[in-house]
């Protein structure tokens, strides 16, 4: 399998704090790759580096071999990297339908059209419907996002990233904070993502990680500790000592 996303010796420092230390990560096409690590290991920092929210202190990031280190966040989205946020980052005053419309229009290249009404492009509307149905949002599609139940907001969070038709989808704890009853809806949705979309998942929930991932990287103190298939990681004594031990304590 070809490598889609790769980092080369990525460093990020905030003053004296090292948030990413010489990270060289490779994600294969179509992979279900999980990134785990204790709190403060630098997982979200890594996502922020990959999506361009933060600039690395050193090192390169490549997408399909192309160096994207200097690109702005929105430019990376256009090249096929999309993400969700650990804490919902939605457009509170827009409805889910409008929210998805924004992302779809942008991708289809009509996001800057100022002379036509939003909703007048058939292609955008059709794709919105498709996403609304895929992510079970039909019953709330015209409500203000701010007043949606948390579970629905979480679904919209993923739908919005998916609306960018990413080649690589970065999911930052998709089920974080979702009550048990609504959890399976999100997990099922994540599991049903198309196979050709590469997924990099950050998650604390070990059940989810081991049921979903086909490859796991372990990040500790900003550096990659180890990487391998789930079974290998589960057996790795270093991981058990450093990570799992802590996770159980937490």
């Amino acid at each position: 399998m070809p490598i889609v996303l790769a980092t080369e010796n990525l460093d990020k420092r905030f003053g004296g704090i090292v948030a990413a230390n010489d990270v060289s990560l490779q994600v294969e096409h179509g992979a279900r790759h999980a990134l785990i690590g204790p709190n403060g290991a630098g997982k979200t920092t890594l996502i922020n580096l990959l999506t361009g929210v933060l600039k690395p202190t050193a090192g390169r990031i490549r997408l399909d071999g192309r160096d994207i280190t200097e690109l702005k966040p929105h430019e990376r989205v256009r090249l096929g990297i999309a993400r969700t946020f650990q804490i919902n980052q939605l457009f509170a005053d827009l409805t889910p339908l409008e929210t998805l419309g924004v992302a779809i229009s942008e991708r289809q290249g009509s996001g800057r059209d100022w002379w036509r009404l939003a909703g007048s492009k058939k292609g955008v509307v059709e794709e919105s419907i498709e996403l609304i149905e895929r992510f079970h949002l039909a019953d709330v599609m015209s409500e203000r996002t701010a007043i949606l139940p948390y579970g629905k907001q979480r679904l919209l969070e993923i739908a919005l990233a998916f609306a960018c038709r990413p080649r690589v989808l970065l999911l930052d704890e998709p089920a974080a904070g979702v009550p048990e009853a609504e959890r399976h809806e999100i997990l099922a949705t994540v599991a049903a993502l198309p196979k050709d979309v590469t997924v990099l998942l950050i998650e604390h929930d070990m059940d989810l990680v081991f049921s979903f991932a086909d490859r796991i990287s372990v990040l500790v103190n900003g550096a990659l500790l180890t990487e391998g298939a789930p079974e290998a990681i589960a057996r790795d004594p270093n991981v058990r000592a450093v990570y799992l031990g802590e996770a159980i304590d937490a």
Binding site: F85, G101, V125, M141
Partner: protein, 338 residues
């Protein structure tokens, strides 16, 4: 989950419902049109209100739709005013409508150049940067008095008849009809813009710039674009004032003018386009009424009204307005398409 399958035309209509003309909007504009015939004696102040309404609309475009607060919108108002004035005094473009468009375009260009200064920073930073730009422009206009007439103002602006037919009369009838028409046309354009995919993406940027960039929107690009458009609007408003008053003066750049227009917009409410026009109407009529009662101390009563608005709670007034808006304007789409 959803019981009924969704079909494209219904959903499309749902998305577009925000842009549908409400009954009250039609009433609003018919009422505005009616003022041309019904209250000829108030045309002078109505002209000023129309111009201020347009000016406040320009501020609403950036504050209400992109979240950029500005205390220097008068920079563009004044620039447009002097553009129109200079076009007329030097006989460069004598057709008023064309001159108006040119002044607007020139101001938009200025807006584009200065937009890069307001991309960064907090509200307070933006307030001060915009304010600074306006003050510098005012100082420039003062300095180049050979061109602008300096502190005496730009005199001798003669405006040719509109379309070569309608002279700008002393009663302000032509001026009012002209200003109202310009306001209406630019309002239509603004309405179209905010309901377009571009407008939707602006609201996304305002709501959450971090996420907007994470779905591929160039946040800075959008801000530059709307700032430029809004500058153009403010420029047209200024140009209208020059054309209808037939002169331009330095205080068209003044801090007070920027502050007044911000007050009007806050009074009228941001983010639904009518706020600026309604605010201008309320503020100006109130000011005119108070100032005719007590020319020396009207400011006290205006101040009292402003304080009262805040203390009583804009929420409560908002509720009232919200009720009216919901009932009549229905700017929020209905839950289900008909």
């Amino acid at each position: 989950m959803s019981a009924t399958p969704l079909n494209t035309p219904d959903v499309a209509r749902l998305v577009m419902s925000r842009a549908r003309w409400r009954f009250s909007e039609i009433v609003f504009w018919i009422a505005a049109l009616a003022t041309i015939f019904l209250v000829p004696s108030r045309h002078l102040i109505l002209t000023e209100i129309a111009i201020l309404g347009l000016f406040a609309l320009s501020l609403d475009l950036i504050l209400g739709y992109a979240g950029i607060i500005s205390l220097g919108q008068a920079a563009f108002f004044g620039f447009g005013a002097y553009c129109a004035g200079l076009l007329a005094t030097h006989q460069l473009v004598t057709e008023p409508v064309l001159a108006l468009a040119l002044a607007g375009a020139a101001t938009a260009a200025l807006g584009f150049v200065t937009s890069f200064l307001v991309l960064r920073g907090s509200d307070l930073t933006r307030i001060m940067v915009t304010l600074g730009i306006a003050l510098i422009l005012r100082e420039l206009a003062n300095r180049f008095d050979g061109l602008t007439g300096g502190a005496d103002g730009l005199q001798g602006v003669t405006i040719e008849p509109l379309f070569g037919l309608f002279r700008f009369d002393m009663f302000g009838h032509t001026a009012y009809a002209y200003s109202l028409a310009v306001l209406f046309v630019l309002f239509l354009l603004a309405r179209r813009i905010v309901n377009s995919p571009f407008g939707l993406s602006l609201r996304a940027v305002k709501g959450n710039p971090l996420r907007a960039s994470a779905v591929g929107i160039s946040v800075n690009g959008r801000m530059v674009a709307i700032y430029t458009i809004a500058a153009g609007y403010a420029g047209v408003a200024g140009a209208l004032l020059t054309q209808t008053a037939q002169f331009a003066s330095l205080d068209m750049f003044s801090f007070e003018r920027s502050a007044d227009v911000l007050l009007m917009l806050i009074i009228g409410g941001t983010g639904y386009l009518y706020g600026g026009i309604i605010g201008a109407l309320i503020f100006k009529l109130m000011q005119d009424w108070l100032a005719s009662m007590t020319p020396q101390y009207w400011q006290f009563w205006i101040g009292l009204v402003l304080v009262a608005i805040v203390i009583i709670g804009r929420e409560r007034l908002e509720q009232l307005r919200g009720a009216i808006r919901k009932r009549i304007l229905r700017l929020r789409p209905q839950k289900h398409a008909a």
